[in-house]
């Protein structure tokens, strides 16, 4: 218990209009880790954050901070601080006064205030901005002030509510790296709420994917990406191809999946599945090879081959996203380019192509329901 920074035990939040925003959530966040809550808007991730901060009270369940029940503690008495989506800087105060706000509330000596604010200015690289007002700052600078203002308190947990949502793509990448550096430097727990899977994947030690008030899957980014629990996770984190069908037969570690949209497909079986069971399988598009000539090999090598016509190509410089129309459905294949112009086969719209992958490349979803193999078009 002591090792956990924040722990949620069966936390539920039902709003006055009887909307259940958070539904019996259990969550343990370790000391000092960068933890992300990831999910579409309205999934309850922000509500969880607001309950940890103290802006909302759980309808039932208990929230622990460093092993102490804080469910009923008002926000100003919690050792957590929040970075708000729109920064929420005090418009009537300068950068210095914004950062010094909490220190002055606690009647710190002015020398100490100067000293502490100075450290924060250094940490968040705000030199020379101390006397500006928030409306004179750029988005990135406002963000830094918000970080400095929250960290000056030395909280044991920092809560970040979609802090990068208001920034443009380039700056967002930059701030993400900076956040990561700050996290390494201060070493406290960061809880990060986002709907952006790239942000969550690149920065988190662990993440929880949420949907409709429930946590669907928890794990480190690799786990969640490579072994999604169900179709929702597979779809929300990255793109994927789904196969839905019945197990026709099993052979050792492999099973033959009979689908209506793609025919028979060999899949790796990481758990026992009885013949005749209806299952869902996820296959990441980057694992699907695409070529104009038919690859050698067959089902004996557990190689799956599909034929189709290129329906759509999205060239993105370092890779291309292909959508291929197979017999009755569509499949996605991503191809990484190294020497695109020199010696790679150029595949264009309407080309006849072969898609192929090994049975080991696909992953059996643990929960069925939600996946439709033809939902891409």
């Amino acid at each position: 218990m002591k090792d956990y920074s924040v722990k949620l035990s069966g936390v539920t939040k039902v709003f006055e209009d009887e909307f259940t925003a958070v539904d019996k959530v259990f969550l343990s966040i370790e000391q000092g880790e960068f933890f992300s809550l990831l999910g579409p808007s309205g999934c309850g991730k922000t509500t969880i954050l607001r309950m940890i901060a103290g802006f909302e009270e759980p309808t039932s369940g208990v929230i622990f901070l460093n092993g102490r029940d804080i469910s009923k503690t008002p926000p100003h008495k919690r050792e957590v601080n929040t970075i708000f989506q729109n920064y929420a800087l005090f418009p009537h105060l300068t950068v210095f006064e914004n950062i010094a706000f909490s220190l002055r509330l606690r009647k710190k000596a002015e020398r100490e205030v100067k000293n502490e604010v100075g450290k924060m200015v250094e940490l968040s690289r705000l030199f020379g901005q101390e006397n500006k007002y928030p409306h004179q700052l750029s988005g990135g600078q406002k963000q830094r002030v918000a970080i400095a203002r929250a960290l000056v308190n030395k909280p044991s947990v920092l809560l970040l509510d979609e802090p990068l949502a208001a920034l443009d793509a380039k700056l967002r990448q930059h701030m993400l790296v900076e956040l990561d550096n700050i996290h390494d430097e201060v070493g406290i727990t960061f809880i990060y709420v986002t709907h952006d899977q790239n942000e969550a994947m690149s920065i988190s030690d662990h993440l929880a994917v949420m949907n409709e008030g429930k946590i669907v899957q928890k794990g480190d980014p690799i786990e969640v990406y490579e072994s999604p629990r169900n179709a929702f996770v597979a779809n929300f984190i990255g793109e994927t191809n789904f196969f839905v069908g019945e197990v026709a037969k099993t052979e050792g570690e492999y099973l033959l999946l009979r689908t209506t949209a793609f025919g028979d497909i060999w899949c790796y079986m990481d758990r026992e599945v009885a013949e005749g069971t209806r299952i869902e399988v996820s296959l990441r598009p980057e694992k699907v090879k695409i070529s104009k000539s038919r690859p050698r090999g067959d089902h004996k090598l557990r190689l799956n081959i599909l034929e189709g016509t290129v329906d759509e190509t999205i060239y993105l410089g370092n890779h291309t996203k292909y959508t291929v129309q197979t017999r009755e459905s569509y499949m996605k294949s991503f191809k990484q380019h190294a020497r695109y112009l020199l010696d790679e086969e150029i595949i264009e719209w309407k080309d006849r192509v072969y898609l192929w992958w090994f049975a080991d490349d696909s992953y059996l979803l643990q929960e069925t329901g939600g996946a439709r193999s033809d939902e891409q078009k």
């Binding site: 901060a53 706000f101 509330l105 929250a150």
Partner: protein
């Protein structure tokens, strides 16, 4: 073709603008000019004089009503600003059962005709046997000023990002500290604007004051009215000119203050 049409349109709109300005300001300008006219009656210019201003300042009656007006305006505006600001915060941020009715009650004085307000208050004071005087005038002014302050402050609150309040609480501020250190400083331009609006409304009010003012509670508008009953004296022009000057200065002050706060 296009340009000629636009020019024609432009000329028309500048003519209308000019007409509106003339209509609005000719009476005021002529009043100011006449206050320096030595003629006792009529509009013929017979020479420059400050005589009417001297007469104005040497009249004890006018001084008394001037002081009455100042007292009423300051006291009523201060009280109305405090109540109005709190009611604006209440209406805008808090969700309580009777919120809607409360809001209607606050706004009603804006649409009720002044004469009804005046009469009903007179009846009310009479029923409670409250002696009419400065006190009743102040109470009456407070009631209609509250509505204006509330509206002005609510407009300010509409630009107010509530997460700033949460940020303050998050950073360790108790409710009272949030109010004093964050909410008040941010909405202070609205509060000041509401206060100054109250002052001008209070100085200006005739109808309601007429009903609830007792003996010895004559304000400037009432004084002007009673003076006019004995014919339009140029002293009235002088008094009006000073009133206009005062109001204008208040408005400029408000502007200046706003700029100072917003930066």
């Amino acid at each position: 073709m296009e340009t000629r049409k636009t020019i024609g349109k432009r000329r028309f709109s500048s003519l209308v603008t000019l007409g509106v300005f003339l209509l609005l300001y000719i009476p005021i300008v002529s009043l100011i000019v006449l206050s320096f006219n030595s003629a006792r009656q009529g509009v013929m210019w017979t020479g420059f004089t400050l005589n009417w201003y001297v007469r104005l300042f040497s009249s004890p009656d006018i001084w008394r009503s001037f002081m009455n007006t100042v007292i009423v305006a300051l006291v009523a505006s201060t009280v109305a600003t405090i109540i109005g600001t709190l009611s604006a915060i209440g209406i805008y941020w808090y969700r309580f059962k009777s919120r809607k009715y409360f809001q209607i009650l606050i706004y009603t004085p804006l649409i009720i005709p002044d004469i009804l307000m005046g009469v009903s208050m007179l009846i009310f004071f009479a029923a409670l046997k409250v002696p009419l005087g400065l006190g009743t005038v102040i109470i009456a002014h407070i009631t209609f000023c509250i509505s204006y302050v509330t509206i002005v402050v609510i407009t300010r609150l509409e630009d107010f990002d509530y997460s700033v309040v949460e940020a303050a609480r998050d950073l360790g501020a108790r409710s009272f500290q949030v109010f004093v250190k964050v909410i008040i400083p941010i909405i202070v331009p609205g509060i000041v604007a509401g206060f100054l609006l109250s002052v001008t409304l209070s100085v200006d009010d005739f109808v309601i004051t007429f009903f609830v003012a007792g003996p010895g509670a004559t304000t400037l508008p009432l004084r002007i009215y009673s003076m006019i009953k004995f014919g339009v004296s140029p002293v009235i022009n002088a008094l009006s000119t000073l009133l206009i000057g005062g109001t204008l200065m208040t408005a400029l002050l408000a502007r200046r203050f706003r700029k100072l706060i917003i930066g």
